[in-house]
Symmetry: D2
Subunit: 290 residues, 4 copies
């Protein structure tokens, strides 16, 4: 998956999805050809040869793209509307605006901020919101605002209102980088952008709290982590990425947690990077990752 | 984990386990030294620095081992009894006597038989028992008896009686190589030897039937397999080995099943090989694998 | 990578490659749309956004495909000729005709034959040619002709002539499944079909003979295997697939060889399966694997 | 591999190595038993059942360890001297004193410093020496001295003298965390402590400079990294740890480098952590990692 092309000013990404039918690829590629666009990459997936759902991600180079977008969008509305497809057209040069929410542990947060600094994840982290003050220095050291909003059972509604005030219209994505609080259904509806969470187990094994102790008790030989979109059903949202690491009888639960932290940060960073490149398409409770 | 040493006639394996206390390693190694044995490998594990459980596996070379075993056992009884440890002493040259139970699918069965033939698993498969006749030719091609004992809900008790008659005193291990029947608690008690099963998922995810369809529905990004000792609690026995393979939105449930079959046969073969080398020690519902 | 679709009678695979230029995707998909074909999957790769090489693999469903192929080919000649692209059009229902060449070790051979029997690799193995007689019973047990052609330094030219007589016009692919002989440049030219080899190391590490001993001597912590197309430069042909397994100081060279055998059979089987689904495109000394 | 036990004040680690002979395990464990020590873990390896080299790592808990060390050492001198073994006895509570040398890239450096801060690697990084000034702010943000010593062909000898002045008697380990300079044989001799380097390829593949471009040109399907002790033979020192990540035709050489950076930092961090726990024993040009 080429991640360099985003540097090109005139690079566009077109996501198309809908019920599968003949001629979608031809319609899109012909329209792009008409505009003189060069297709740089094209990924396509149908869930079934007949009667399934259709997904396509196309990146293309088109001279003077920003100026052409209005006209291109009009034609896509028309062409894809007739084919019953919805679409999303983005400019690769525009990074996603991201807020990260954390509690006290630093491993996922630092990995994300460091990758942003290296240019590995195409995002601008505009703020870090935390329910504990511990990570303030680290975040501000990257030149990023850190906002401490304490949360307890009584204050949750008010805390979420504060969070929403900061987030609304300001971000394209919220990342929960080991934010140890459950967000309400109201929050998820009002925030209006995708929320990605890292769960510290290989879902659906060890749903809920304390997965490393549960893994130790069960005597598993691999432990894992899962990045998923957050839905109202805890730990049940569409999975973006998972990975595991081998363990044995030797590790204590505390050591499993340390080993797991390495997997967590990698899985979350990959999921966020792919999301920010418009590689992840939701398909009900599953994802297509191109 | 050296697997060559089993060829040596005078190689012994000593498993010691019990509540942890000082001096066990010294007692065992001094006793072996007294006999003139050379320790070839020694693995030791304590579940806790203080007050935990103790496990030790020692392989040693002792001139004329078969003749020395009675006397050595007497001394071990004495020394380890005082230390509150139980032990198991085996001669590496003696392969485990194994029965494999199967239904219709061949992948786990063939992998075990191939590896036996190549000398990779130190076992003698004395019989294959199947509830379907399909795999008879394959098994007999290896020169191994294949016994077809049909099973249905009504006949289960009788079938188990037939199986037990074949197994009792004849085998050291029963391997369920995708045997799609549940064995009764009575059977497990009467068979009197360990039973290893391969479950076609990464336990504890997707317990029970149809794990590949469940995995597809949940949209996981890795699928796995688990080899475990069989207990009366289905899919809850001590895990010996697990592994996973990466999948994506592309695979259908049928393709997940095919990818999974590769993981199943490897995981089961590894678990059986380790068991046959006395590398696996049960610790309640967990295992120590040296 | 869906492997079920090959069962469909009217499924075609079109491979296009050449210097990258605008409009290739559109031209192909429009032509297919004109015929009423439904694109089932489409993979595309350009080595460079500008001035690179272009590769596309399209699978499509077209009613009455066999009858339409002549006309479709004519139009492809025309359209792709103008765009400077070469192409290859195959019917998914036709399995590749394969010859396997072996020496004495069975692990790669058995894995291939067994996967063919299970329908996992879309090929017909028409013959197995061996320079030793050892594996005859195994091969004939699968109902496949086994031809023993001894080879020594003096007889190599004559042996190759015999082999060529068997292979010419009869196979689409030759697989060297641990065939421990070097094929001459003459043979490779005359055989006229691709030849896939499994090398028992992670190339380019440990080129040449005795890689497991070399790996042991160097003290590596992973060992691997490499499937590649055979060219006149030994161990230098385009790599199709590679994989590794973790090892440690414990394993002897003989044990590394046994561990490596597992990797070899998997890597070779994957490479052959992908080749037989027309997923592998050669690009100079590299491959594109869709 | 338990990493918690180092917190215990009275925990000792004893490394024994030499030519294999009978009775070493018994002698060591009896001596420890005599002192009332409790063996917490014991790993043992013989390169050959007969006439090989012997390695043992024992961790033990001994009341009032610091006070007992002189007497225990005397007895070890005596007992192990008679058995022809050398030994190393360390207190687990004492972290290794480490200097890190870097050039401009931050990924390995930051991973080490993060892990030190989280208590994952049992070391005290006393200084970071760099031939470029770029990483000064990052390092000083951790409260660690950063010393910039420019190096060019003409100034190398003088630079090494400066480095040696800083390092001598002050550190137990030097880590080259992508330090893009070759250290002279003189330096290695005079520094008097082990030096660990991270090589950005799966050695012995792609020895020397530019491994990612070489990997791209060769079309490999996996790329890796290797942590090894530095010897005078560039890229030929004993390997401590290696790992790989899967790549494909899609990645450019620049993207391989980015993917590889993730592997590099993990491999180096693991190697340094293991070294700091006295888990790595050199055996000629190989290592035993317990």
């Amino acid at each position: 998956m080429s991640r360099t092309s985003r540097d090109v000013v005139d690079l566009g990404t077109l996501i198309v999805q809908g019920d599968d039918r003949q001629g979608i690829v031809a319609a899109v590629s012909s329209l792009l050809a008409k505009y003189g666009a060069n297709i740089v990459s094209l990924d396509q997936h149908s869930t079934d040869p007949a009667g399934g759902r259709f997904f396509q991600r196309t990146t293309f180079h088109l001279e003077d793209l920003p100026a052409q977008i209005p006209s291109l969008s009009d034609e896509l509305d028309n062409v894809l509307g007739m084919l019953g497809q919805s679409y999303r057209l983005t400019e690769a040069r525009k990074p996603k605006r991201v807020a990260i929410m954390v509690s006290k542990t630093d491993h996922c947060l630092l990995d994300l901020l460091w990758r942003q600094r290296r240019g590995e994840i195409h995002m601008n982290v505009g703020m870090v919101i935390a329910n504990h003050p511990d990570l303030g220095d680290d975040v501000r050291g990257f030149g990023i605002p850190f906002i401490h909003i304490p949360v307890n059972r009584a204050s949750r509604a008010q805390a979420e209102a504060e969070q929403l005030k900061l987030l609304t219209d300001n971000v394209d994505l919220v990342v929960l980088a080991r934010y140890m609080q459950i967000l309400s259904g109201d929050f998820l509806q009002q925030v209006g952008v995708p929320v990605i969470n890292i769960h510290h187990s290989f879902l659906p094994a060890f749903i809920g709290a304390g997965p490393y102790q549960k893994a130790k008790d069960r005597g598993v030989k691999l432990i894992g982590a899962t990045a998923h979109y957050v839905t109202e059903d805890l730990d049940e949202g569409p999975i973006i990425e998972q990975d595991v690491v081998r363990v044995s009888h030797v590790e204590t639960a505390a050591e499993l947690q340390r080993r797991g932290a390495d997997v967590e940060r990698q899985v979350l960073s990959r999921a966020v990077a792919w999301h920010c490149e418009d590689r992840v398409i939701r398909d009900g409770n599953q994802t297509v990752v191109f």
